[in-house]
């Protein structure tokens, strides 16, 4: 049973110093959603962090439980894909936002993304992500800034920070944990290849901080993993001639498809 509403899921692995910011933006979004009559929560999935995340999360949960904060602790480390799968299983609500613990959402825009996913019936909606270099207050690059097209089968330009219909994610058995560092990209391809509609909303979804030593940057066998993803979705290069249902979809509430 999927209750109407939004779960903002924050997978965390040793991001003690960013948790307060990401959780704050998540709880702000919960407040804005609730003001509009939409049920919402923040669910932090801690993947056996070894820094000070665990005691901090326990304190935050005690303090903000009434505001919608829940914590789920893994007993063993499952990686980013496994953490997202836990969120899919543990979330209370039908629509799910994946917010990495070191990023930040634009809280006031989450109700608009929720409206967009309801109006389009999409498997996922996403919006611009503004990239900030470490210790800079302003952004100078954007990703997740274009609609889905077949170029996605060659390279990823859409971040995981997006809103998903949990029914679609569960139906596809969640993230493939055998592609560490590329599981996010693989999920976009998985959704598109299976007929899910992925819609770009030209609105800012959040801020992404480009940090040193990130998990993605630490993946060493990237080319091998990319080849594996291509083997699954585009072995013969046919995607260039076959459009998915997500092709060039853009939507803005009150304006319509663009």
């Amino acid at each position: 049973m999927y209750h109407d509403g939004v779960t903002i899921a924050i997978p965390n692995w040793n991001h003690e110093f960013f948790l307060a910011r990401s959780i704050r933006s998540g709880l702000d979004a919960v407040r804005h959603l609730r003001e509009q009559g939409t049920s919402a929560e923040v669910l932090v999935v801690d993947d056996v962090s070894r820094d000070g995340s665990r005691p901090l999360l326990r304190q935050l949960e005690a303090r903000y439980f009434e505001d919608g904060l829940r914590i789920h602790h893994h007993a063993v480390n499952l990686g980013p894909g496994g953490s997202r799968n836990s969120a899919i299983a543990q979330a209370r609500y039908r629509h799910l936002v994946f917010l990495d613990a070191d990023n930040e959402i634009v809280a006031k825009n989450i109700p608009i993304f929720h409206q967009s996913i309801l109006e389009t019936g999409a498997a996922a909606v996403y919006g611009n992500l503004l990239l900030r270099k470490a210790f800079r207050s302003t952004a100078d690059e954007a990703c997740s800034n274009e609609s889905f097209r077949n170029q996605m089968f060659n390279a990823n330009y859409i971040d995981t920070l997006a809103m998903y219909d949990r029914i679609h994610l569960a139906d596809l058995s969640g993230y493939d944990a055998s592609l560490p560092g590329l599981e996010d990209w693989e999920m976009w391809l998985h959704l598109a290849a299976n007929g899910g509609r992925i819609v770009f909303v030209p609105l800012v979804f959040g801020f992404y901080d480009v940090l040193p030593l990130s998990t993605n940057a630490a993946v060493h066998n990237v080319e091998q993993l990319r080849d594996r993803a291509r083997r699954i979705y585009n072995q013969l290069g046919f995607r260039a001639h076959s459009r998915t249902k997500s092709h060039q979809l853009r939507y803005f509430p009150g304006v319509g498809y663009l």
């Binding site: 302003t138 800034n145 170029q151 009150g254 304006v255």
Partner: protein, 337 residues
């Protein structure tokens, strides 16, 4: 050679060559010019280079020589243009680019090599003359005012203010400056802005689809401020954006670098703002008063047809058909050949 336009009591013949790419902004301008020339009583032929009708022309205006050559292929394009050149008394290249842009510079080189007589710039303010005619080709400026039909159209009134739920919109190719501006607007003004900043994909066959003019109109009809900043530091006004705002009933806001010197008599001066002031400007605006001011100023400025009429008069060696003389907004500049 047949009589020139100056010697004809009734009709002249104008050939407008469209680059045929159908992009938003540039393409409608050549069509608007065609309508205004027709209203001035000229015989107008609007076509692509491949479909030029036979006969002689008093003027030929090329809608972006660089794009025309790119579309036709350089060598065949040059051959066809040479034939057009021989069939026209005067040939002008119509440019709607900043004179400091690399595209404009490429156009200058092509103009010189093809023997184009003059450059016609249609915009909001005349540009740097020295840069405009560096290749020795005279430069003419015409104010991109409303057409006769546009002036008669009613634009959305203040009562429709409530439906403008998008506080600001940025639609442009992604650059670090534009992302920084977006970041500032989200953090300091309102997060609900419409943001479309696709990257450049020169090698991709099927890149991100640009918003066409119909889609832009739908967005601007729901928007309060259409905000943009240029790719270069020189002061340049993108006139199609001002016109789109006027037609949609929203307000333009051109953002320039903090060091930019803004003359006091600049057209639409209230709608040009320095980077450091943009958030304060949007937060402290009286939208309705500004909207009235913008619409009034647009109506006060000369129509496009007036500028074209004056230009014809100058090139044909006589007063324009409308007999209006040349208003200061329509300066002819750069006779520096």
């Amino acid at each position: 050679m047949e009589d020139s336009l100056a010697g004809r009591p009734t009709h002249g013949r104008v050939l407008l060559i469209d680059d045929g790419d159908g992009s938003a902004g540039h393409d409608p301008l050549i069509r608007r010019m065609a309508r205004e020339f027709a209203r001035l009583g000229l015989d107008v032929e609007l076509c692509t280079l491949a479909h030029v009708p036979p006969g002689r022309f008093d003027f030929c205006i090329l809608d972006d020589l660089v794009a025309i050559l790119a579309r036709a292929g350089d060598e065949p394009g040059r051959r066809q243009l040479d034939a057009v050149r021989r069939a026209s008394d005067v040939i002008l290249n119509f440019s709607a680019d900043c004179v400091f842009s690399s595209r404009y510079q490429r156009g200058l080189v092509a103009c010189r090599s093809l023997g184009v007589d003059r450059i016609l710039d249609v915009g909001i303010i005349p540009q740097d003359v020295e840069a405009a005619c560096r290749a020795g080709v005279p430069y003419h400026f015409v104010f991109d005012g409303l057409t006769h039909d546009e002036d008669g159209e009613s634009n959305p009134d203040a009562a429709e203010h409530d439906r403008r739920f998008i506080p600001w919109a940025i639609v442009d190719r992604q650059t670090p400056e534009r992302v920084a501006l977006t970041s500032r607007l989200v953090s300091q003004v309102s997060p609900h802005g419409f943001v479309y900043l696709p990257g450049a994909h020169p090698h991709e066959k099927e890149g991100p689809r640009p918003l066409n003019s119909g889609q832009m109109d739908r967005i601007l009809e729901k928007t309060r401020y259409y905000v943009w900043c240029g790719e270069h530091r020189q002061l340049y006004f993108e006139s199609p954006r001002f016109r789109a705002c006027r037609q949609a009933g929203c307000l333009p806001l051109k953002v320039v670098g903090d060091e930019t010197v803004l003359p006091g008599d600049l057209p639409f001066r209230d709608f040009v703002v320095r980077e450091r002031d943009v958030a304060d400007r949007l937060r402290g605006s009286d939208y309705e008063a500004e909207r009235r001011s913008f619409q009034t100023e647009y109506s006060r400025r000369p129509r496009l047809g007036e500028g074209l009429d004056s230009l014809m008069g100058e090139l044909g060696g006589r007063s324009g058909r409308l007999g209006l003389g040349r208003r200061p907004d329509n300066q002819t500049l750069g006779q520096c050949a």
